[in-house]
């Protein structure tokens, strides 16, 4: 960000940040509090909306819109599907019988690890630095990190820089992501596909091109 943009940020940015962050944790608390699971999913959508606002305040417009599209448009819908598929009174009784402390303990451990990871950054330099940009591949690594990105940041939009970064330096992460999506697709099909009945498969085109006048014929007067 240049100095001009940093100068004209008014005080409303602070109050907007307070508004969105307070709204986010209040909505999250309401997710936990509501007895109706559909209401919980609604409050989850509200949490995602507040998080999208926070991303917009950070200057990440692409990710704010992506949050709306992917998190609310796909993830919250999937949560809603799961809520619809479950038989809630029976699930609640079984949950009370089995006890919630093991699962809660595991999730609390995960939260502790996440907080620890936020406060202590284990690796400053990634071992996966792969400068694949052809015009800078011959340059030494220090000049690559100093000059090319500065030139790119003034000449192109942030989204174009993201494209250059994603398909250039961090291409290994992109291919890992594609493998992850492949696993997700195959897993979904393997888990939810019903056994297809051995019914005859009709070719629709052949069906449509049958001449209807020849279908019915008179056998006897």
């Amino acid at each position: 960000m240049t100095n001009e943009r940093r100068r004209i940020q008014p005080r409303s940015m602070n109050s907007l940040f307070f508004l969105f962050s307070t709204g986010a944790w209040v909505s999250a608390a309401l997710v936990l509090r509501s007895k109706n699971p559909v209401h919980s999913v609604f409050y989850l959508v509200l949490t995602f909306l507040h998080a999208s606002g926070l991303l917009l305040l950070q200057g990440l417009e692409f990710f704010a819109l992506l949050q709306l599209l992917v998190y609310i448009g796909a993830l919250a819908i999937m949560f809603l599907f799961v809520v619809m598929l479950l038989d809630i009174p029976a699930t609640e009784i079984v949950a009370h019988q089995r006890g919630t402390y093991p699962v809660a303990g595991l999730l609390f451990l995960t939260l502790l690890i996440a907080i620890f990871g936020v406060l202590w950054q284990p690796m400053e330099k990634s071992p996966f630095v792969t400068p694949l940009l052809p015009e800078v591949a011959s340059l030494p690594k220090e000049t690559f990190l100093e000059t090319s990105w500065q030139a790119a940041s003034t000449a192109h939009s942030p989204l174009a820089q993201l494209g250059v970064a994603l398909y250039g330096v961090h291409v290994d992460l992109l291919l890992l992501a594609s493998l992850l999506l492949l696993v997700a697709m195959m897993g979904a099909v393997a888990l939810t596909l019903k056994r297809r009945v051995h019914a005859p498969l009709h070719d629709v085109f052949v069906q449509h091109s049958v001449d209807f006048q020849k279908v019915v014929s008179k056998v006897q007067a």
């Binding site: 599209l69 494209g163 992109l174």
Partner: protein, 117 residues
Amino acid sequence: MIEYIGVFVYFLVATLLGLIMFGLAWKVAPRRFDLEKVTAYECGYDAFGEARSPFDVGFYLVAILFLVFDIEVAYLIPWALGGVLSGWSGLAALLLFLAVLVIGFIYEWGKGALDWN
């Protein structure tokens, strides 16, 4: 990010309008609670069970596949603006990314996951 203040004002006005509509309707409508009005009607008997019908799991598969391909499109959007700048190696990266996902798509198509609709 001050240039998006218009979007925020739009959201505020839309929320305010929605709240005014809900609030006025809630204030004006009569609310006389009666046990018969609130309970489910099943020809005079008490409710036999939950009012849900069995749910076809094919809908869930469609939702998951939509999510996966939506994320694929989200990875393709930065390419649309900055992909040409990343040269031939960037193109190779894109083709590898798409090839892996096309393999998954062929698997689904062959398995018949796209068929029943």
